[in-house]
Symmetry: C2
Subunit: 306 residues, 2 copies
């Protein structure tokens, strides 16, 4: 007796189409490429049909694959709704979710995620704690926030961290900058440049903390609040910057400025959602985190979920 169709298979098909490849789909699902390959083979054997053409970029579904995808698109949201409802039955529909952010750029993805979340949990009070804060976890302890977006886990803190995603921080140069010829930039390359950053403490700037300070490099500095303003300064050769790739992707596509990896392996940042342990199990908290991860995965280029 062959194994029946399961939601697992629908999740696989959906991920396959979203990511456009078996390996990427596997990563999205927190599975291995091998597992997915086996799983797909088993599905195809069961149906006696192939589900997609392997040798084509982008990936192309057969009619049977398309029908399965249609089923996924129909069923998976219904399952999501049901799970949320069950969460509400357990924890109640109401609550508060005051969010503290330490990074400027986070608003780019936070707003869409909140827009997605709000109609699902109309009775949860959703707010952003105004301003930027060097220490969201502190705000949580003072009960002035319920969830903080942070870039480092401090295991000593009594909070629960939900991993969000990992992204590359790239150096941004004017298109005709002399360093634009390089394939990658090193710490020393910044020595004679003006580094343009957000006006926040150096500890919150990964490029300083992880690259320049260890190398003893102290470039000239300049700051601006807005991403677009920073880019404008870079384009007009007033300096260089180091920003998340996803934050500047649209500008890169239009060749407004040039991006280069920082260091041999590239420089990467990570983001986590910090919540009080007592609230980590709440249905709407978990769903908020899932919503953030889902919206970011589909809208931010070049990130990888943690």
């Amino acid at each position: 007796m062959s194994t029946a169709l399961e939601l697992r298979h629908l999740r696989t098909i959906a991920a396959l189409v979203e990511t456009g490849g078996v390996a990427r789909a596997a990563e999205r699902l927190n599975l291995t490429q091998s597992a997915l390959s086996h799983q797909l083979k088993q599905l195809e054997d069961q149906f006696g049909l192939s589900l997609f053409e392997r040798k084509s970029q982008p990936l192309k579904l057969t009619p049977a694959g398309q029908r399965l995808l249609a089923l996924s698109d129909q069923v998976l949201p219904q399952v999501g709704d049901a799970l949320r409802d069950i969460g509400r039955i357990r924890d109640g529909a109401a609550g508060s979710l005051r969010i503290a952010v330490e990074c400027h750029t986070c608003f780019d993805w936070l707003m869409p995620a909140m827009d997605e979340f709000r109609p699902r949990w109309p009775e949860v009070e959703l707010d952003i704690v105004s301003g930027f804060h060097a220490d969201p976890v502190g705000l949580i302890h003072q009960n002035e926030a319920d969830l903080g977006i942070v870039s480092e886990r401090d295991e000593a803190e009594p909070v629960h961290y939900f991993p969000l995603f990992r992204y590359e921080i790239v150096a941004l140069l004017a298109n005709d900058h002399q360093l634009a010829g390089r394939t990658a930039l090193q710490a020393e390359d910044f020595a004679d440049e003006t580094l343009i950053t957000y006006p926040v403490p150096d500890d919150m700037l990964d490029v300083i903390r992880q690259v320049l300070r260890p190398a003893g490099v102290q470039p000239r500095r300049r700051s601006s609040e807005l991403t677009v303003a920073i880019l404008q300064l870079v384009a007009s050769r007033r300096g260089v910057a180091a920003l998340p790739e996803w934050a500047v992707a649209p500008y890169l596509e239009r060749r407004y400025v040039t991006a280069r990896p920082i260091g041999e392996q590239g420089l990467f940042g990570e983001l986590y959602a910090a919540v009080p342990p007592s609230r980590a199990g709440l249905a709407y908290v978990e769903d908020f985190v899932d919503t953030v991860r889902a919206t970011c995965a589909s809208s931010l280029p070049g990130i990888s979920l943690l």
Copy 2:
């Protein structure tokens, strides 16, 4: 990391409610009672909620259980539709399904099943081969039928048998018949009675083949085409009958006649669908069998699926 919700769980909930008990649900799903018990426990642990009240007959769902049931009712038909569509993609939407029956009463459940099937497979020509036939399998070999409903598997025949269900054949007596006092009837009890049957060869009557002939009992005989006519004769004390319990259940409920088991263990019949091996894998054939099993399981009292 806890295991995610799967269709398996939804099928379990649906079966649980349909059958009204864990053990019966397990049988319906071709699993053990143990497996379902474990599965339900794991589900409840995962949600942190109980899904149904164990100590209550009939089984009562908690709100969370009801929500899961609603999801099942929503999702499982969609999955069924998709699987049928994929079957159509593989085997085509058209075909023919000429059905040969050897037993009179089968029409009671065959018609509803056909009504269910027809809209799902509008391009499959669905017919009943007219009249009753002692040998449906023969008709299949002569290519005059595509599927036969038979009560015995002849392993020597080159056909594929799909098991349908098992049912009890009960003796039917007038309410004030002297034998109505017994808890069960034996072969000898028929010796001085008139046995009323359908007008078919004795080999097709289980009560003759399995009970009376082995005991050398030859009661007086009378026959009628229609179930209701047989019952009318029984009620008016013209004789006794032996019919499938599910065929007479509505009359028993109204106490029109009295039913008693035949023999110590009761007398049981089984039904199979016979098809040519080459057609056993066709999507619409499998779906027809599934449809029959499903409609019979839900509409015929006292049967057990094989």
